[in-house]
């Protein structure tokens, strides 16, 4: 279900342990990572993760709150959005 695909965008100053912290939270929430891409933008580290929440027992809201919290712990900004918004906006 496209409804169950979410995109997590993590941005901030590059440091050790970003992937580990976020991946760890996702594992605890039973969220499956399907793809990861990362880039540097204006000296900022930006990582995008495509995930599937179908098998997670947690609600979207909980998943989002936990990820934002875990981002805050390492000083990173985290955006969690359903993937559909990007598909709709950028494809004809």
């Amino acid at each position: 279900m496209s409804k169950d695909k979410i995109l997590i965008t993590i941005s901030g100053l590059d440091k050790v342990g970003i992937v580990a912290a976020i991946s760890n939270t996702l594992a605890q929430l039973d969220v499956n990572i399907e793809d990861i891409k990362q880039t540097i933008m204006q000296d900022h580290f930006v990582m995008m993760m495509l995930c599937d929440i179908t098998n997670s027992k947690n609600s979207f809201k909980t998943i989002k709150e936990e990820l934002i919290k875990s981002g805050e712990n390492i000083g990173m900004e985290v955006w969690v959005q359903r993937k559909e918004i990007f598909d709709k906006m950028h494809t004809i």
Partner: protein, 455 residues
């Protein structure tokens, strides 16, 4: 395997986070035709119960979607059947009572505004309409979320000049009754030529009598995003290319709005109505239609060339939106309110943007003279003249035009007024000192124009 493009993701987040892309409003249009009764209390009860039934989850579901897509949904609103029609069968048509019922229901379901305290009188008034019009200033003074509108003209009926004079009086009284808030009552009232029955934007939203039982209409915005897109182009890019980038941006904004609108309609279990793609500015820095003119190469809003820039902008927005959704409706285009747009406020403050220039711009923008503060002692007949001019532009050009002006009590030209929130702030602008009274006092109706010999 689902795929994603990093550039697209970053662009979307920048559009929302930096350039103020938002869903300006999710407006539930609700017919109240089945609430008519001979007893105004019964009518009121029916209206209240129906609004609660349909709108009780509007705010919660909209908040959920805002969270899921990380896109701000600024306002949740309700638009109802013009209330003049619903109240007039009552033996005791106490419209102010209905206004208070509507306001109470709006507060109960937690929406930001409720529109449809309205009448359609382009050809003249019924007895009920006359009673209704008298009630508007008091209704606006006694409520907080209620918005009111009156349609005074159409391209097919002409301009109801008796109504124009009456509405000018309503505007004055609405401002005077809310003098302690700088005439805020008048900011919640708008009069129209060719009003639109599925418009989700206030103060003019109502659910037309030709509309279904209910529908969810969406208003998206994003002047900041359009400005950003133009600023990213070479400064000497030809205007055809500028128009193209506006279309592409409008497309992206519209698809996003439609996604949210369809989801919300589904959750509320009501039909999706239309998406209104209007570039509605806010007083926030960067979220300005005037800023788009500057990005196009004009020194400021008000410069010669502003009308041409606005014409191209308005048209390109519609073209991009039409491509993105089959159900584009409402007002769709570019709004040019003064007090709600940081760039317009600055231009008006410096005296480079005048009401005359704004009037010219309304011949090509999506609506009309909007959120303009004028001196409190402006004669009613002068306001009526201003309304008549604006109605004429709409009638002849077969477009929607509107007037929302605030004659700020006890304040004079050059003084400052603050309405707060989305309504913003503005300097009080200069009006013509010439007398229009003999013309507007003639009353009657300006006949509908000929629809051939177009030149």
């Amino acid at each position: 395997m689902a795929d994603f493009n990093e550039k697209d993701i970053i662009e979307t987040i920048q559009m929302i986070k930096v350039h103020h892309l938002d869903i300006r409003t999710t407006t539930l249009a609700l017919s109240l035709r089945d609430c008519i009764s001979e007893d105004i209390k019964v009518t009121g009860d029916k209206i209240y119960n129906k609004i609660i039934k349909y709108a009780k989850n509007l705010k919660k579901y909209a908040d959920d979607l805002e969270n899921e897509f990380s896109i701000p949904i600024i306002n949740k609103r309700i638009a109802i059947t013009p209330i003049s029609l619903i109240g007039e069968s009552a033996k005791n048509p106490d419209y102010v009572y209905l206004a208070q019922v509507l306001d109470k229901a709006a507060n109960e379901v937690g929406v930001d505004f409720i529109g449809g305290y309205s009448a359609l009188v382009e050809k003249g008034c019924t007895k009920g309409d006359e009673i209704f019009l008298e009630s508007i200033p008091e209704a606006l003074a006694k409520t907080s979320k209620l918005c009111s509108s009156v349609n005074l003209a159409t391209s097919k009926a002409g301009i109801n000049m008796k109504g124009v004079l009456k509405v000018a009086d309503i505007i004055k009284k609405s401002a005077e009754l809310t003098a302690d808030k700088d005439g805020l009552g008048a900011a919640k009232f708008v009069c129209f030529c060719n009003s639109v029955s599925d418009n989700p934007f206030m103060a003019g939203a109502y659910c037309g009598i030709n509309e279904p039982e209910c529908a969810l209409n969406i208003g998206v915005s994003g002047p900041g995003v359009v400005r950003w897109a133009i600023e990213n182009m070479p400064k000497d890019a030809p205007l055809g290319e500028v128009a193209n980038i506006i279309k592409k941006t409008a497309f992206k904004i519209t698809t996003t709005g439609e996604l949210i609108g369809r989801e919300l309609a589904q959750r509320l279990n009501i039909p999706f109505g239309v998406i209104d793609l209007s570039l509605a500015p806010t007083p926030a820095q960067g979220d300005s239609v005037a800023g788009i003119f500057q990005a196009m190469g004009l020194e400021q809003a008000g410069a010669h060339g502003t009308t041409a820039a606005l014409a191209m902008l308005n048209d390109a927005v519609k073209k991009g939106g039409i491509m993105a959704s089959s159900y584009v409706g409402g007002l769709s285009g570019a709004f040019i309110p003064v007090s709600e747009d940081a760039g317009m406020i600055e231009a008006a403050k410096q005296g480079v943007l005048t009401i005359d220039k704004l009037e010219a711009m309304t011949s090509v923008c999506s609506v009309g003279l909007d959120m303009i503060a004028i001196p409190g002692d402006t004669p009613t007949t002068t306001i009526a003249g201003m309304i008549a001019d604006e109605m004429a532009i709409g009638m002849i050009n077969k477009k929607t035009t509107a007037v929302r002006v605030i004659p700020v009590p006890n304040k004079k030209e050059g003084e400052w007024v603050k309405f707060g929130g989305l309504l913003g702030e503005a300097p009080i602008m200069s009006m013509s000192k010439l007398d229009s009274s003999n013309f507007v006092n003639r009353s009657g109706r300006i006949p509908a124009p000929i629809h051939s010999l177009n030149n």
